[in-house]
Each structure stands twice: as structure tokens, then as C-alpha cells.
């Protein structure tokens, strides 16, 4: 994605802001893309277990080159570290953890987030042949909370926060929170509530870049 979008939070700041919402004792699944940055966040005294769809339970930051273990990857294929107490399970058990409701929050990237709680992240165009579902539909349908991390607008400046998704949805009425470079937002039916704006951004600027009403 674009490196030209410099308004508001950086990707790591977006991830850090969302990670501030993780509560002590939570099991949190991190998806491909920006969400992987959440495992680099220092959660302080809060004991948070990161789950990856490939069956890694209890992983930590991405390791620098030369220190990686090539047998250990997160959902994005990055070589990560293990935290004390980590465990490995096979794929069917990893998704048993997901479907049985044990994931307190799942953090995913998205192309569109709608104020009615729908979101889209598996097909780049309505008529696209093929798509990338991965674990997103299982996570979206079964996690207790769905957190999205995405750029506020497309490269061409079109809003990604909208009233209704134009793209095929991943799940309906499930989104809990959305963090973008513009701030932190909560879907509330016909619009989003602004929980926090990134430094330097005004509500009017955020409204101009959003495809749904924003309430302060």
C-alpha cells in the first residue's frame, strides 16, 4: 500500500493505539498486514496472549534478520519470537480455538469498514476472480470482538469508512472498533463515533475523508 499517506498516525502508532484497548488476560488474534505490528507493542502489565491462525499461541515481536527461526512464522509469514508459556497446535485445533469463542479480539486489515458493522477484506473488486479469505471469515464470525486496522482512505483518496460496503463482505454486523491513521472509530449503525482523532487532524478533515456520518 501507499507510503505517501502521511496524515495522522503511522502504521505502528495505529497498531499501538488499538493495542491499548487489549485487556489483561485477553487472547488476541492478529491477522496479515498492519495488525502484525500489534505484537511489537509493549502491553506493559497487561498479560495478552497473541494467537496466530497457523496454530501459534503466545508469540511476541518480529525478530530482526539473523535471529529468526525459519520454522516459526505468524499469519503474515513473518518470523516471530515465542513468549514464555507459548504452545503450538495444528490448524484444525487453531480454528477450534477461534470458532469456540475463545478469541477475545481479532485484529484484521480491511478494504472497507461500514458503520452498520459489516466489513470487507477478501475480494479486491466485486467481479474479481478469486480472493483471499484466509482465516478472516472464521475469525469475523466467531471472535468476541472484531477490531479493524486500515488506512483511512484509498490511494486515490476514496473513503474506506463507509455507510455500507460496496465490496463482498467478510461478515455482517460484527465490527467493534476501527483504527485508521485518522483516529479511532466505533461503528454505530448509520455513522461512526469518533473516540479519538490522531494529532493534527480536525473533525472536519476526518468528515471530509469518511463515507459515513461522524459523531464527535
Amino acid at each position: 500500500m501507499s507510503g505517501t499517506e502521511t496524515k495522522g498516525w503511522s502504521r505502528q502508532q495505529m497498531a499501538d493505539r488499538l493495542a491499548a484497548e487489549f485487556e489483561d488476560g485477553w487472547i488476541v488474534n492478529l491477522g496479515v498486514g498492519i495488525p502484525t505490528l500489534c505484537s511489537n507493542t509493549d502491553t506493559g502489565d497487561r498479560d495478552v496472549v497473541f494467537h496466530s491462525e497457523n496454530g501459534v499461541i503466545g508469540y511476541g515481536p518480529v525478530l530482526p534478520e539473523g535471529q529468526e527461526d525459519l520454522h516459526l512464522v505468524n499469519a503474515g509469514g513473518q518470523n516471530v519470537s515465542l513468549r514464555p508459556g507459548a504452545a503450538i497446535v495444528h490448524h484444525a485445533d487453531s480454528f477450534a480455538v477461534i470458532r469456540s469463542g475463545r478469541i477475545d479480539a481479532t485484529v484484521m486489515g480491511a478494504y472497507e469498514a461500514a458503520s452498520n458493522g459489516d466489513f470487507a477484506n477478501w475480494k479486491v473488486a466485486v467481479n474479481a476472480k478469486g480472493g483471499g479469505i484466509g482465516g478472516a471469515m472464521d475469525l469475523a464470525a466467531c471472535a468476541r470482538r472484531v477490531f479493524l486496522l486500515l488506512e483511512h482512505t484509498t490511494r486515490r483518496g476514496a473513503p474506506r469508512l463507509v455507510r455500507r460496503c460496496a465490496l463482498p463482505v467478510t461478515a455482517r454486523r460484527v465490527v467493534t472498533l476501527v483504527a485508521t491513521n485518522y483516529g479511532l472509530f466505533k461503528p454505530e449503525g448509520e455513522g461512526f463515533r469518533v473516540l479519538e482523532l490522531a494529532p493534527g487532524l480536525t473533525l472536519d478533515e476526518a468528515r471530509a475523508a469518511t463515507g459515513a456520518p461522524l459523531a464527535a
Binding site: 500500500m1 495444528h90 480454528f95 484466509g134
Partner: protein, 245 residues
């Protein structure tokens, strides 16, 4: 003593795979992927295959043998995957060209459903219900049922003829151990298949040398083992290169 399941090489292990087979390929983002067996299957040339795997591959460099290469080699009729396109809209897989031209069929399956369909096949369960995918495009025209006030989709078991896997350790009886994230789909694919081929990273242990309590996949599910030679003859996972952003 059990008869050793060790084969001399990858070509010998894949020699009998006929045209029209359904084959599951283990691996997730590198670890546990049977690169050497895929390369041997490319050379063996079986055609009209149905390939089951998480992705079609091809999104990262350096590129290792993947399902996409079997497609490009004209060996595949259909893929069953949780990704049939790259995760980034800006990446275009070589596979996409074949899909768009109608030269290969694709069944896109949510990853947890894919794993559970394989697990069901290996467990004598013909079908199951899952809440995954309800209200989405993949649910269109599908059989649903309400349980506990919630809609679920009917999903069928996915049995396969062959599974091609990679493990860290094996004994002559075919008992397997995987290392860390190498495990992924491999155990459920082993149980879903009638014939299981495994490329093994470490030197084969004699039967009796592996602690039975430490076995991940029991040898009764495993038929052919091949030891991976050191590079450059054997293929080993490489650090994936970051793509330009």
C-alpha cells in the same frame, strides 16, 4: 520390527501418483511445505490433478516450488484453497492469469473450514455445520440450519487420495514430529489421505527411538518417507524477502 517406510528419493516416492488424483499439500507461509516433493511432482508430470492447500503460492521471493507452478505446468484441473489471490491487492500471482483464462478451476474455502473439512475426512465425519461464512457470497445457494438461534452452513468432509507433507523428524515406522509452525495443516492432511508422503528434515530414527508420547502424527497414517538432502540438492525454507512498499 516394522518394515521401514524410507524411500530412496523424491522421484521414487511420487512415481505412482496417477492422473486425476486429489492431493493435499501441507504448509503455511513456508514452514511445513513439501518443496522437494512438489518439485518431484513437477518432474513426474501427473495431470488433471485437484490440489488442496492453503494458498496457490507465488506471492513471495525467492519463489519455492508451489501449487501455482503445477498449474503453470498444465498439471492441475482444480485447486481448493483459502487464498486464490494475493493478500495485497497490488500483488498479482502468476496463478491469476490461469484462473482468469478459465484454464483452472478454483474453490475458495475459509481457512478454518478447509482445516475442519480435512479433519472431518480423517475422522469419519461426512459433514458438519459452521457459523463461518454466513451472510457472505460463499453462503449463496448453500444448505443452512439454525442452531441455538444462529445460522450455520453445512460443509462436507474433504477426503484426498494423497497428502504431501514435510516434517522435522520421523522414525522408520512413519511416526512424525513437526517443529513449531511447521505443524499447521500437516496432521489433518495426513489423516484425510489414503496415501501419505513425507519429506523429513532430520536423519531417520530407528523404530522405537521416538518417545510414543511425543508423536504428532502416528505412523499408521504415513506410507513413504524421504530424507531431505542438504542444500543445494535438497530444498530448505529461505527467509522470505520483504516486498517493496
Amino acid at each position: 520390527m516394522p518394515k521401514s517406510k524410507l524411500f530412496a528419493g523424491f522421484a521414487e516416492a511420487v512415481a505412482g501418483i496417477p492422473d486425476g488424483s486429489t492431493i493435499a499439500f501441507g504448509g503455511f507461509a513456508g514452514p511445513g511445505t513439501p518443496f522437494n516433493l512438489i518439485r518431484a511432482l513437477l518432474a513426474q508430470g501427473a495431470r488433471n490433478l485437484t490440489c488442496v492447500s492453503n494458498t496457490t503460492g507465488g506471492a513471495h521471493q525467492p519463489r519455492m516450488p508451489d501449487i501455482g507452478m503445477l498449474v503453470e505446468n498444465g498439471q492441475v484441473r482444480k485447486v481448493v484453497c483459502s487464498f486464490t489471490a494475493a493478500t495485497r491487492p497490488t500483488d498479482v500471482l502468476p496463478f491469476a492469469r490461469f484462473l482468469e483464462a478459465g484454464q483452472v478451476e478454483a474453490e475458495l474455502v475459509p481457512q478454518g473450514t478447509l482445516a475442519e473439512r480435512l479433519r472431518a475426512a480423517g475422522s469419519g465425519i461426512p459433514a458438519f455445520y459452521t457459523p463461518t461464512g454466513v451472510g457472505t457470497e460463499i453462503a449463496e445457494g448453500r444448505e443452512t440450519r439454525n442452531f441455538n438461534g444462529r445460522e450455520h452452513l453445512l460443509e462436507h468432509a474433504l477426503p484426498v487420495d494423497y497428502a504431501l507433507l514435510r516434517a522435522c523428524q520421523a522414525d522408520e515406522a512413519g511416526n512424525l514430529r513437526y517443529r513449531l509452525a511447521q505443524r499447521n495443516f500437516n496432521p489433518v492432511m495426513a489423516m484425510a489421505a489414503r496415501t501419505v508422503l513425507v519429506e523429513v528434515e532430520e536423519e531417520l530414527l530407528p523404530a522405537g527411538a521416538m518417545d510414543p508420547d511425543a508423536v504428532h502424527t502416528p505412523g499408521i497414517f504415513v506410507h513413504r518417507l524421504v530424507r531431505i538432502p542438504p542444500p543445494p540438492d535438497g530444498l530448505w525454507p529461505a527467509r522470505r524477502l520483504e516486498r517493496a512498499r
